[in-house]
Amino acid sequence: MATIKLQREDFDAAAEAARMTRGRTDIGAVVTFTGICRDHEAGHGVSALTLEHYPGMAEEEIARHVAEAEQRWPLDGVTVIHRYGRMAPGDNIVLVVTAAAHRAAAFAAAEFLMDYLKTRAPFWKQEERAGATAWVDAKAADDAAAERWEQPGKRDAAE
């Protein structure tokens, strides 16, 4: 059963990972990814980030991708926590925890979910730098990272 949370408050990655495996002996791999607010971007300093989101759609969009991950890989658990509001360098932004019997599925699903969160989940980052604010531009590298998960239609069946 997947856990999806959007919240202003911080999260505890270790506690979330522990919660996923508590009482279970069939899980052989847990991957946790934590995205953290850093103090620099493309050569300039960043003093804070504010994350805006589209309430309702953000949860639904994340749930869609979690469901897709569960279809693609044999997962025993998925947790996604995405924060919104203002964050200072060093603060947690996003958490993805995936659990599976074997590591390949857990690694792949965590990376898949992060790539999609960056490009498809309705969140927008605004940076504070030296007294000014600027919306963060989407990165082509993030689009490319998400695109590599696209599955080629039904072509295989015809060949």
């Binding site: 589209y54 953000a58 309705p122 969140f123 927008w124 605004q126 989407a138 990165k139």
Partner: protein, 102 residues
Amino acid sequence: MRESGACPDSAGTGHALVSVTLRYFAWVRERVGKTEEVVDLPPGLRTVGDVVTWLAGRGEEYAHAFENPKVVRAAIDRTHVRPDATIGQAREIAFFPPMTGG
């Protein structure tokens, strides 16, 4: 129980004004100057792209927000759509820049 056909709005005659909630996020919100508004879409608008063109003509702030329509993304009832998507029975249309979450 609701009787079908009792509500003339659902008949899709195409004459009545269609009322939808428009929502704006990030710099689209800043440029438009509001987070959301309920508007009556004029008849004849068929696609999301048509709505963008109509919005861009509503004033300087909208023209600024939609000056480069290719950059602005849209969602109908909380699902991503392309500019050629038909509005259909949309209740909520959102406009926003490319996403930068994660």
